[in-house]
Amino acid sequence: MRRFSLGKYALPVYSVIAIVYLMIPIAYTFVFSFNDSLKTNLIWRGFTLDKWINVCQQQGVCEAFGNSVMIGVISTVLATTLGTMIAIALVRYRFKARSFVSLLIFLPMATPEVVLGAGLASQFFSMGAAKGIATIIIAHVMFCMSFVVVTVKARVASLDPALEEAGRDLYASPAQVFWKITFPLLMPGILSAALLSFALSFDDFIITNFNSGPAMTFPKYVYTAAARGIPAEANVVGSAVFLLAIAIVVTVQVRGSLKARRLAKQ
């Protein structure tokens, strides 16, 4: 007779419950993007593709989405560039305040967003800077940079300095060594830092809300709309972003495993 095992039954049940729990909000958002809703999108009124086809008809959705993408791209480019430079400096150059600077870089990650947002808002106010897209980008670059530094630093630390020395030995000037050897080898780290950076920026509500003034971003739009029952177009945009993200992850994984298989075959 086989022994009864609690784990044998409990574990699958528990796993299914956990996954369902995680998926409910996403599934809800996705399903209600097809709702033939009126002003509010709380009650199921029947299936339609209208909201997906005419997503920009609802006032402000696409503008907010466009702003968020633009802010995300600009912040990512700036934060990734600056963060990569800081990461290389922190690993490769010995200077007096190195460990102290490392700690300072880490601080924005540990500080509550509300505090960061409020602090920045008062700085902009006392400087007399008009709040808008520019102030949002400045705020986003600030907190994204910490994540970039941490991600790229790990990659720089694992890079054998002999590789760069070999480049110098083989007639490459310092700039050529950077672009032909250091940069390509850091690329995977820089890419994942950039993706993380974009996700953080695109997604941010708290810090953005403090520093945006009249400018509208997608999270802010959804927050405002939530007061009246979110329009289905917001669900469409949210679902689209979700699907896009999944597609990117799957593509990267498949490409990676294909490449590994091809290398193993040779």
Partner: protein
């Protein structure tokens, strides 16, 4: 291979280091180094880790700057130039092959940097020289250690440098592969006629491959010469220990005539030819290699031209295949090692036997310094 090698023949240039000193924060890696390596020579810098040999190599490559002194290649002062401006290429200890490029791209890298015509064809030829032409499209991480080592060699050789620097290039290989690569490396050097500067801590490797060996210790060159000469007549305790094994005896000079001097070690007279001794008065150390010494079960009659010490007792016998290594304890002198070739019948095989040790006076060598701790000691390193 011979035809391929023709294409890589460059005029090897001579290297000269003048009064080099290198300080790092907290310590001095090289105290005062003067060195001249003639063109086309295979030169080995041999020493323990931390002796300054790798630092010397990095100074020549331009990866570090000397605190003081000058570096000349082919008579031209290159001290102030950057690594990419020097006619020098390096084979790194870790090989440092670029993981994001194919083997062929790795080898072609230096040629492309200098905008040499037809870099790919030249790179293919270099890979064929090291017999790896069929692996050109692979990534370095798909190759074995020995293959990576040869790619690193091809990547350096293809640039036809005046001087090739090798930083313990065989250190990461297993013993059998290392011996095989030593032979190949030496063959390639003879064919292309480049000047090789090889840094290693493996004394066998240095003696086997190099025309000239410089033994380095604590940031200085202790002794320099052909492997045969260094082994036959070490000048210092360190060299006698680092290159092979030595029995050293310390005593006051008791007799001295025109051709030889003798020391007294607790009643035993040990003689060394005057021209084989660095120091001729006071307390000196005299040594002999274990394979030059013999032992006898009965006391032999005294002969001129032969040093005789004993009696002592065999306290350890080690069988190493080609020879038996006997450790003999002689009262008042200490432990003496004697190697006896394994020719089918060992003269003595039991422990505890009473024996005398002798060797020809002309095999003794006198050192310029004294062993650090005991008055008399037998030193067995490696």
């Amino acid at each position: 291979m011979a035809r391929l090698a023709q294409e890589f023949i460059a005029r090897g240039a001579d290297l000269e280091l003048v009064g080099i000193r290198k300080e790092f924060p907290g310590f001095t890696a090289i105290e005062n180094l003067d060195l001249h390596i003639p063109a086309g020579e295979f030169f080995a810098l041999l020493g323990p880790s931390g002796c300054g040999k790798t630092t010397s190599l990095r100074l020549v490559a331009g990866l570090d700057e000397p605190t003081k002194g000058k570096i000349l290649i082919g008579g031209k002062d290159i001290t102030a130039t950057k690594p990419h401006e020097r006619p020098v290429n390096t084979v790194f200890q870790s090989y440092a092959l670029f993981p994001h490029m194919s083997v062929l791209e790795n080898v072609a890298f230096g040629l492309k940097q200098r905008k040499i015509e037809d870099p790919m064809a030249k790179a293919v030829a270099a890979l064929e020289l090291v017999e790896l032409g069929h692996l050109a499209q692979r990534r370095p991480q798909q190759l074995s250690g020995g293959q990576q080592q040869r790619v690193a060699l091809a990547r350096a050789l293809v640039n036809r440098p005046s001087l090739l620097l090798l930083d313990e290039p065989l250190g990461a290989l297993d013993l059998k592969l290392r011996r095989q690569m030593q032979i190949e490396l030496k063959a390639i050097q003879m064919e292309v006629g480049l000047t090789f500067l090889h840094v290693t801590h493996d004394q066998e490797e240095a003696m086997d491959m190099a025309d000239t060996v410089a033994v380095m210790n604590k940031g200085r060159i202790e002794q320099m010469g052909s492997p045969e000469k260094l082994y036959d007549r070490p000048h210092t305790v360190f060299v006698s220990k680092f290159l092979g094994q030595s029995n050293l005896f310390v005593g006051e000079v008791a007799e001295s005539n025109g051709s030889s001097i003798s020391i007294n070690v607790s009643g035993n007279k040990i003689t060394v030819p005057t021209d084989r001794a660095e120091k001729h008065t006071g307390t000196i150390a005299v040594g002999v290699r274990p394979e030059k010494a013999n032992f006898h079960e009965s006391e032999p009659s005294a002969q001129t031209g032969v040093n005789l010490i004993g009696p002592g007792e065999i306290i350890d016998i080690r069988f190493t295949g080609v020879s038996n290594q006997y450790l003999i304890e002689i009262p008042g002198i200490g432990e003496v090692t004697v190697f006896a070739q394994n020719v089918g019948k060992s003269p003595v095989t039991e422990l505890g036997a009473k024996v005398w040790v002798s060797w020809k006076v002309e095999h003794s060598f006198g050192l310029s310094d004294l062993p650090a701790n005991s008055a008399t000691e037998s030193i067995s390193v490696i």
